[in-house]
Symmetry: C2
Subunit: 313 residues, 2 copies
């Protein structure tokens, strides 16, 4: 490597995490450390052009005149990493499908950003954890995020396995005995997400006769911590389903690391204890040493993972 | 490539499929066509040395003095493809764990076979189908075999993804609502294999009050074809569980092809119709074009796939 190549390899990249409600951007050094951060609400209702404008403005702000190698974006929706086009998306971002993220951002950031790469936001999150977080040093890492929805990403040799149609990672849409008969957001029924997502815990608690004043999933966890048996039961059922599904993924894929993230992963032992017990009960003997662990990077995971599309290529 | 390299690349390889009851061997040309076949019972009770002796004898017989490039073995048990050692195995092959397949076969076939590679037999089966069968032209192919047990293999770029401990492919050990409460061969409960394997269909039929004279799974299928509603119901439940699990795998992995094999795949529409309906009900919209198809190579799949370890390296 020449002196000039070395200098180029040390330049930072911009990482962006585009969600349904918030855009986060960071300037990320070649070693993955975050040099600057900025965020803004997602102008979801204003359409794709407004969203790309907002991303470009945040990118320019965090770059602050630095000589950046490129921009790596983790975006809501099904994203084709080759073309950087949005293949599919939910109603959270109206008009989002079909958007050409690469050309839209290169045009807006002409002269500032020479290159744009993009993946789905859960894949970006997993890339960050696999690089510098709980999946560090693991050749293959399965990350599963339990939050408003349940999504995942299988990182193999530093890249997300996105599959034939960039759809891989819909790990919330696998059969779960605990979800039998429950409708799923995907239109199917009986899927893990229908019992083990945050909103599913809230619904189950209310349906079981829980306190109607509990306005969200967090309130259910608060009540469980305070001794509400119905709340603890709804959480335990969700966690058992989650642990069983993770055990099944371990048996099918035998990943080097299993990383658990999302809002529920922050909920403490009320959720983790039944999850780990169900995992252990489902995993085949030869895998007893593979134990799910909690994600480490928090909110930085997706911006660092996004930037890794540029920095580690 | 020199003339000599070209000639070397045209030489055949020996493929071997070692199961619990039978060993099949074939001489396989560079294009995958089978030039000679032989088989023998597996001397399971006689131990690993006797099994290796039997494999070597069959290999020598099919090679028939040909200048072979090597021997590729698909073997029962958990096989580490790097070391070609048996990591783990069930009681079907007593003493099998720890066996060094590569050195054991190279010693026995000295001067005849310059190289030995080995994988688990389901992986070998999938390698054959991914090369020349139902997964032909697919960059990634998930094969699932439904028989006495349920096993699978995810072929990525011509190689089986064997995971961190060579355990990947235990796809019968994922949660299934239809299997809730049923004990599994792995020691767990509620797994797909407990409801959707061949023996599970037979057990379910008898437990539901079916004709005790039905001595095996085939007899249950015969009765279902003859109008026995209990038999049809046991088969449909197994097939629904199988289709749901395949839908979940599709959602999680988005493979280019899904190939179904094993004894149950030969059972006709009584099994395939509910399987495909359950698959369609579980798969997310973007994957509706990915439809499970039946394996094509039959009994040759594993010997061809085994030989591919040498021929396609």
């Amino acid at each position: 490597m020449s002196h000039r190549d070395n200098a180029a390899a040390r330049r930072p990249a911009v990482g962006v995490d585009l969600g349904g409600t918030k855009i986060a951007a960071a300037l990320v050094a070649a070693d993955g450390s975050v040099l600057a951060r900025a965020s803004a609400p997602t102008p979801a209702a204003a359409g794709p052009a407004a969203i790309l404008d907002a991303i470009a403005a945040l990118a320019a702000r965090v770059a602050g005149g630095a000589d950046v190698r490129g921009l790596g974006l983790g975006a809501a929706g099904v994203i084709d990493p080759g073309s950087c086009r949005v293949v599919d998306a939910t109603d959270v971002l109206p008009g989002w499908p079909g958007t050409d993220l690469r050309s839209g951002l290169l045009r807006r950031l002409s002269g500032l950003v020479p290159r744009v790469e993009a993946v789905n936001d859960v894949h970006a999150h997993a890339l960050g954890e696999a690089w510098l977080g709980a999946g560090r040093h693991a050749r293959t890492a399965l990350l599963v995020a339990f939050g408003t929805g349940i999504g995942g990403s299988y990182i193999v040799g530093g890249r997300p396995a996105v599959g034939a149609h960039a759809v891989a990672g819909h790990v919330g849409h696998v059969p779960s005995a605990e979800a039998a008969g429950l409708e799923c957001t995907c239109g199917g029924s009986g899927h893990l997400e229908a019992v083990a997502s945050g909103p599913a815990v809230h619904r189950r608690y209310l349906a079981a006769g829980g306190d109607p004043a509990a306005e969200d999933t967090r309130a259910v966890f608060d009540r469980a911590a305070g001794g509400d048996a119905l709340a603890a039961s709804a959480i335990a059922t969700a966690a058992r389903a989650a642990g069983g599904a993770l055990g099944g993924f371990a048996n099918a894929l035998d990943p080097h690391a299993i990383v658990v993230s999302g809002g529920l992963a922050a909920a403490g032992r009320l959720w983790w204890d039944p999850l780990l017990a169900a995992y252990a009960a489902n995993v085949v003997g030869a895998l007893s040493a593979t134990v799910p662990t909690r994600a480490l990077l928090g909110a930085d995971a997706a911006v660092v993972g996004g930037a890794s599309l540029i920095l580690r290529d």
